[in-house]
Amino acid sequence: MTRIDFVSRRGFLETVFSAGALVIGAQILPDEARADGTAAPAWQPTVYLGLEPDGRVIVTAHRSEMGTGIRTALPMVLADELDVDWNRVRIEQAIGDRKYGDQNTDGSTSIRSFYEAMRQSGATARLMLERAAAAKWRVPASECLARNEQVAHAASGRKASYGELVSLAAKLPIPKKEELKYKSPSEFKYIGKGLPITDQPGIVSGTAVFGLDARVPNMVYASIEHPPVFGGKVKSVDDTEARQVRGVQQTLQIPPFKPPYAFQPLGGVAVVADNTWAAMQGRKRLKVNWELGPNTAYDSASYKRILFETVRKPQKVARNVGDVDAEFAKGGRIHEAEYYAPMLAHAPMEPVNAVAEFKNGKVTAWAPTQNPQAVQDTVAKALGIKNEDVTCHVTLLGGAFGRKSKPDYVAEAALLSRQVGKPVKVVWSREDDMQFDFYHAVAAMYVKAAVDAKGRPTAWLQRCAFPPIESQNDVAARFGGFEQGMGWSDVPFDIPNHRAENGPAEAHVRIGWLRSVANIYHAFAVQSFADELATAANRDRVEYLLDLVGKPRKLDVQSIPLNTPGYGFDTGRLRNVIEKVAEQSGWAKKKSRPGHGYGIAVHRSFQTYVAAVVEVEIDPKGTVRIPRVDYAVDTGLVVHPDRVRSQFEGAAVFGTSLALMGEITAQAGRIQQTNYHNYPVARISEAPRDVHVQLIQNDAPPAGVGEPGVPPIAPALCNAIFAATGKRIRELPIKKTKLV
């Protein structure tokens, strides 16, 4: 096969990726067979696209599919811009490789970071096909038009299929970005319209392959007993009984991590067996003597007291406008409140698992991972091999919510495979999943406001404390890092004196990001407090929120610390979603009454503006039911409306779970929850019955979708409960408060 070297560092790739996309290697695939053993397509104009002479189109999905539909949405953008029929497109899941740019499917960034790259890929190939046809027919390229899988020359009536032109196009130089011509939105076939998701048939027939379904010849199964307290170590093991369990082959130790913990395995004792059940049974017979380590004093009840002590005192300033102290000193009407949101576990339906084979100094892994490049890094580091000697195949992910971007479990499989000499499948039980997670942080918040005669704040002070995610990488980390820009330092209220502070907190378990991250607790405090002020002022919530947000104006990194520069913060769009959700839900006519209430909250995260109205019913036993949730969403350009709606439908349920019942606690360093009976998540009767999602038409750049639906739910639900019962929930989960 001819070497095709179209992608140069100065050319395509550098201009393709938006901010945040990491590109290290810019070389397209080598001549020889690829690392995953498949042959490269005949022509590969970009790393995401291959075309065959028979007209087949191969689009590489380099982001992980965990339910957002991204394996359909991004290839769909490329297919649209290239103008090929979707039925001709075969989607290939990329292995982990930096040439694709950032593959960490996290932070609701896939469309944001790669919409342009996909369109550019399609437009690049289309232009090259037009130029190939022009060369073939000896006519100006400007007279050739590539549409619907063929290039046509109108003047002469000549036509050629894309497939016929592949070999010619492959010899042409890659065009410059400025030369590309994009489709106009009116020409879109798929963008903004959507398609059935590519994995749906496999899912309904049970043939789709998730991580847990990956099988390779001679594979053995492993179940791992982790230290019961974070940071613990094995002192000694008696595996006599474990080895007597039918099907158990051997037991092995995995060494403890070296701080900082990052994505390293926790360490422990693995039981290797013929099948999953035997491995789990063998594990029950292990007698492990643990050195419990430095975190045995971690107790959620006392930790909560420490967090509240912290937020009751002045702390590090994250943002300051005017002088809140001077305003408070004037006296007048002051409101104060404290809020608390507990630790949460991700609890995806598929617990983490991985298959890895160590052979000839190299590792091949199959894993449900959000971040195959982190798998390469983590496995390479754990085994002391080179990054490029780790091949990571990405399966479908049975839910992830942030957990599966931390590949400790893949490193476990790789370490075990090296010792066993066979491919090893590591399966975490549900108990492992809940007890050894990277937990969403517990947080305490304090908010204080001075208000004028109309109840509008003249000063607003907010303090929070939570163990930071940065503790993954820095044992000394105590203050929030990027969490600050998630609904804390970027509170967009128009208040003359406004200070946001953050106090220190030490982590005693692994901390990680969970769907919408710090926005969860920040939005809970801020949007609940706004509702409390509206109540005190006896004002309509919608009118009050609009007043707090103030006149439409553009905030930027100079005026407000934003997590992701580049998008800005348009309070006009925030106002708009409040007004739209009020209209859609019929807010003006809805009257809360005992046992039946309506609540509203608004929050911008991941560059998306979201307002939610939650309707709640509380029966005489105190059971909470949610007949309806209304969302108004401004997420900029929408690529796949049905999948965007489905993400918000799901976010309403995810938000309901954490608000109503989600809580992870520790006692003597041990996590007390083990399975869905003591860490419940919303079931069908508890979930919102009807979720109405209004997508606001918009030409703004595409923003995040997977996460921003979550933060407004807890405060809107608590505000609705207040409206129905007069009980103000300041501590999550709601189930801890007796409602009747």
Binding site: P196, T276, W277, M349, G399, Y676, H677
Partner: protein, 151 residues
């Protein structure tokens, strides 16, 4: 020796009679459509049909499965066109899809018992099946579509 039928085919098993049917299906028969979620019958991801009724294969031991007819998602319909599967695709129910085999098996068993289920019937039948992605409203919609009742 335990004998059972899985998707119409006869099988013999002489391993640990306490092994849950789930792991037999997945690890020994390579029928991986049935999923592990909790191991305690709490989440419904492992739902199969045992003699036509919905059962949690994670808490059904091989000795309890002896002599039974087991149907998994792979065998629900030869062409994967069971009315519930068809409705699931039409409504685009699945997000990640992991729990959906269990949801579909549960829904299919419900429609045998109650061909025209009410919302309450659906709540009761589906309460044991967790979907962490939160596809419940579409599950309800798809069940009604498959049953031919008004949404």
């Amino acid at each position: 020796m335990i004998e059972l039928k899985v998707n119409g085919a006869s099988h013999r098993f002489d391993g640990d009679p306490d092994m849950p049917l789930l792991w037999y299906l997945r690890d020994l028969l390579a029928l991986t459509g049935t999923k592990y979620g909790c191991g305690m019958g709490l989440c419904g991801s492992c739902t199969v049909h045992v003699n036509g009724g919905a059962a949690r294969s994670c808490v059904t031991s091989m000795k309890d499965a002896a002599g039974k007819n087991i149907t998994t998602i792979e065998g629900l319909d030869t062409n994967h066109q069971h009315p519930v599967q068809v409705a699931w695709e039409k409504v685009n129910v699945a997000q990640c899809g992991y729990c959906q085999a269990g949801q579909i098996m549960q829904a299919a068993a419900l429609l045998v018992r109650k061909p025209k289920p009410t919302d309450r019937d659906i709540d009761e039948a589906m309460e044991g099946n967790i979907c962490r992605c939160g596809t419940y409203s579409r599950i309800r919609q798809a069940i009604k579509m498959a049953a031919g009742v008004k949404a």
